[in-house]
């Protein structure tokens, strides 16, 4: 029985509405003193809470918020960052370059697409990667940008759509010299 609660299926339920609201749960009872309005709230959210508690005559889909309840200090409420969904935090991947003493890290979310990313890599490692072509890879350059995907395979950067790349890229590797050529020609 206890384990059922652990699954917390509700949290993963797809539905419309603000997080935290649950239309199906009804108020157990309205405020006991219906004729009395609650004192004005001094914090910024006071506008909403006081307005809502003003409606305690009328039932509403969303429960009227009572001032000062739950008893969490406004300082704490105001300082809490909403949970950053995984899609909101950065996608940091390591970037290695053959021969370089240490690795770098980049956040893929910052870039609009491949050209953005490649320009950044060029600037970071002081090299020139050149232009991508489906047939010939990165021709005219000593370097080829590659990445390791979810399956652990080494792939050439640029073949798949940017979004797909973002979700499948685990780390970047800038290959150079003959190894790079080999990769380019393999296509």
């Amino acid at each position: 029985m206890a384990h059922q609660n652990d699954l917390n299926l509700k949290a993963t339920e797809l539905r419309l509405g603000l997080p935290g609201t649950d239309e199906s749960e009804d108020m157990v009872s309205t405020a006991k003193n219906n004729k009395r309005a609650s004192p004005a709230s001094v914090n910024d959210s006071g506008l909403n809470s006081a307005a809502k508690s003003a409606d305690n005559e009328t039932s509403s889909a969303s429960k009227a918020q009572i001032v000062g309840w739950p008893p969490v200090r406004s300082y704490r409420k105001n300082n809490l960052q909403p949970k950053k969904a995984d899609s909101e935090t950065g996608i940091y991947v390591k970037v290695s370059m053959d021969g370089a003493p240490y690795l770098r890290k980049v956040d893929l979310k910052v870039y609009n697409g491949y050209s953005d990313l490649l320009k950044a890599l060029e600037s970071m490692f002081k090299l020139s990667i050149g232009e991508y072509s489906e047939r010939e890879g990165y021709k005219g350059s000593e370097y080829a940008p590659a990445y390791e995907d979810k399956d652990g395979d080494l792939m050439l950067v640029g073949d798949v759509p940017w979004d797909m790349f973002m979700s499948s890229c685990k780390r970047l590797r800038i290959m150079n010299g003959s190894e790079a050529k080999g990769l380019g020609c393999a296509l």
């Binding site: 309840w69 739950p70 969490v72």
Partner: protein, 648 residues
């Protein structure tokens, strides 16, 4: 006990107020007075009393006789004023002459939840005026829930030249201007701690105001100061503060800046980490510092907090110190169980742990498995909403009770709970001193059985024999109060909300709990007859708070009439334009040696944004009320409020 008592004449001008009994003026011993036996006794007493530090012991000693009262008054150096309105500053400075440390508490705790108008009172200024004259050697000042203005800080800095410690908790009314003055003028300051206070950003670089030479700073806590900090100056300040042990940064300090501070102060024992995230999303072109080794270098670190805007990926940097931590505050870090586990499983010495409910029951299970020495747990809600499907429940509570047997204090916010889990905790954690459970939905029953939560809380008071503080919630009938009255013999503080059925509930409490000091109740159906049940006890209490209950003005008047030593403050809504309804919105009563205060808020009524029936109010500044002060010295009562002016 009158302080104007005629003192026995020992001749020669020697007064019992001086430690010395020898008075010689000019040549010869014509003015020499041999100490009488009373004086000898008093000298001995003073020397012995110096060793009494506990204020309760001192209070007891002062009641023995007048001589002991005087001696105690002369030798007391630390003062604790639990309610700033219970005694006037003048009376205090007249009695105690040698105070070096003072703590003053102002507003009642429910003011934290916007249940009092903003200008209600608790001003520091009158205390400061008296202390600036009498306590110039003050070294330590601690204020909680007081209104402190910038001018007050300026006067304090000026009047207490050897002030060493300034601690402001849950205070408001001042800004970075005031901080600048303190930094500049309190040359001896060792401890400057600002906690949970609302501080205005006057756009002053207060950190730059500390003196340029080596400081004696031991503790600098400013995590609640919502204003940017001049980082280079802060860095230099930390570098020239070799005694600094406690440093708590605000969220304007990035993790990279934190790194730089940490490598300058590896001797820190208490660290508040600020935002714990980088300033830019990606630190491009910049090699990221080795945060891990910065933490590893802090070998004395035992208390970690902050994490105000945490990027969870950085949490692994704290691994090196986890094994030494006795206190970890992640209550601003919205992290999951998976993100918590690798950290918490290393914290085997942890005694204090604060977290958000985002860690879920699973995270709490990990805490329970790892932190066998845990004494204090606080779980705060990410979403402080009544009807949410929260991630913590009775499962987490049960897990904690099973793993953390030494638990002494718990504050637990949740959306669902069962009696069984609470009962289990009462048995598993017999050392509990503080049990505060907040089931956020009003009148929520045990979500498995549908029963009220009476039995759970009943078990707590019955089995936890050391319990002194309790907060109840959920669906509760009069029965729970019966239990509390029956078993809560050591209870000093009790918080009640949306509970009980009849006056019996409050009666059980007031009749059954002899040690009750602070009783705060909201939205519960307790009326006048229950109020009268406590008449025998109110003089022994710090305060009683009743808001949105069923007491009437008549009832309050009657209490004031019968107990002249109480101040009975009543806040009522002016429902009718000229009427005075019997309804009382808030009753706040407390004992006082000096009668009603002169600084109650005036009535302020301004046009509001929403008309609520006949009541008018303004959200931001006004508070539409008639504040009545019921003076114990008169038969009736006087209303301090002006009649509301018609809305514009």
């Amino acid at each position: 006990m009158s302080e104007d008592e005629e003192l026995p004449d020992l001749g020669g001008g020697a007064t019992p107020n001086s430690n010395s009994t020898v008075v010689s003026i000019g040549g010869g011993d014509q003015n020499y007075v041999s100490p009488g036996p009373d004086q000898v006794l008093e000298n001995v007493l003073e020397n012995v009393l110096c060793f009494l530090t506990s204020r309760r012991d001192r209070n007891a000693a002062s009641l023995v006789c007048k001589s002991w009262y005087r001696a105690e008054a002369l030798t007391r150096s630390e003062l604790f004023i639990g309610n700033c309105y219970s005694v006037s500053p003048r009376r205090v400075t007249n009695r105690f002459r040698l105070i070096k440390a003072i703590a003053i508490k102002g507003k009642p705790r429910f003011s934290d939840f916007s249940l009092l108008p903003p200008d209600w009172g608790a001003h520091f200024a009158p205390w400061l005026r008296a202390m600036a004259i009498s306590y110039r050697a003050l070294e330590k000042l601690y204020l909680k829930r007081m209104c402190v203005r910038d001018e007050d800080l300026a006067i304090a800095a000026h009047s207490f030249p050897i002030l060493k410690e300034l601690v402001l908790v849950c205070c408001e009314g001042f800004g970075t201007d005031g901080l600048a003055i303190v930094a500049r003028e309190c040359r001896q300051i060792r401890v400057l701690e600002l906690m949970d206070s609302v501080i205005r950003d006057n756009e002053v670089d207060w950190i730059s105001c500390f003196p340029e030479d080596v400081t004696c700073l031991e503790s600098l806590i400013f995590d609640c100061v919502e204003a940017p900090i001049n980082f280079e100056v802060l860095e230099r300040l930390v570098a020239r503060s070799p005694s600094l042990k406690k440093l708590m940064l605000n969220s304007y300090i990035s993790i990279t800046q934190l790194y730089r501070l940490m490598i300058r102060a590896p001797q820190l024992t208490h660290l508040g980490t600020g935002s714990f995230s980088p300033l830019e999303i990606v630190a491009q072109g910049e090699h990221e510092p080795d945060y891990f080794s910065a933490f590893a270098a802090c070998k004395s670190l035992i208390c970690l907090s902050g994490f105000k805007e945490i990027i969870p990926e950085y949490l692994s940097a704290i691994y090196p110190v986890c094994g030494n931590l006795t206190s970890l505050n992640l209550s601003y870090a919205n992290i999951s169980a998976e993100q918590l586990k690798p950290v918490i499983r290393q914290c085997h010495k942890l005694q204090t742990f604060w977290a958000l409910d985002s860690v879920s029951d699973e995270g709490l299970q990990a805490v329970s498995a790892a932190c066998k020495d845990l004494r204090e747990l606080r779980v705060f809600p990410v979403e402080a909403l009544e009807d949410a499907e929260g991630p913590v429940s009775e499962v987490g509570l049960l897990a904690i009770s099973e793993g953390c047997r030494k638990l002494q204090s718990i504050l637990y916010f949740c959306h669902r709970m069962t009696n069984a889990a609470v009962v289990a905790m009462s048995k598993n954690c017999p050392d509990l001193v503080v049990f505060r459970l907040c089931i956020m939905g009003r009148h929520m029953p045990d979500h498995v059985t549908g029963e009220p939560m009476d039995e759970g809380f009943g078990a707590i008071v019955k089995n936890c024999k050391k319990l002194t503080r309790l907060a109840v919630s959920g669906l509760l009938t009069d029965r729970v109060f019966n239990y509390i009255g029956q078993y809560g013999k050591l209870l000093r503080t009790l918080s009640v909300a949306f509970a009980g059925n009849t006056d019996l509930g409050l009666k059980y409490l007031l009749e059954g709990c002899p040690k009750l000091q602070k009783l705060e109740i909201r939205d519960s159906p307790f009326g006048d007859s229950a109020l009268f049940a406590g008449l025998h006890h109110y003089y022994n209490m710090r305060f009683l708070w009743l808001s949105a209950c069923k007491v009437t003005r008549q009832g309050c008047k009657e209490v004031a009439r019968q107990l002249p030593g109480l101040v009975v403050e009543v806040i009522a809504w002016n429902e009718e334009e000229n009427g005075t309804s019997e309804d009382v919105d808030t009753l706040y009563l407390y004992r006082s040696l000096d009668g009603p205060r002169a600084d109650a808020p005036r009535l302020m009524v301004r046009p509001s944004l929403i008309m609520l029936g006949k009541a008018l109010f303004n959200y931001r500044a006004g508070f539409p009320l008639a504040a009545l002060k019921i003076s114990p010295s008169s038969c009736g009562f006087h209303a301090l409020a002006v009649e509301p002016s018609p809305a514009a």
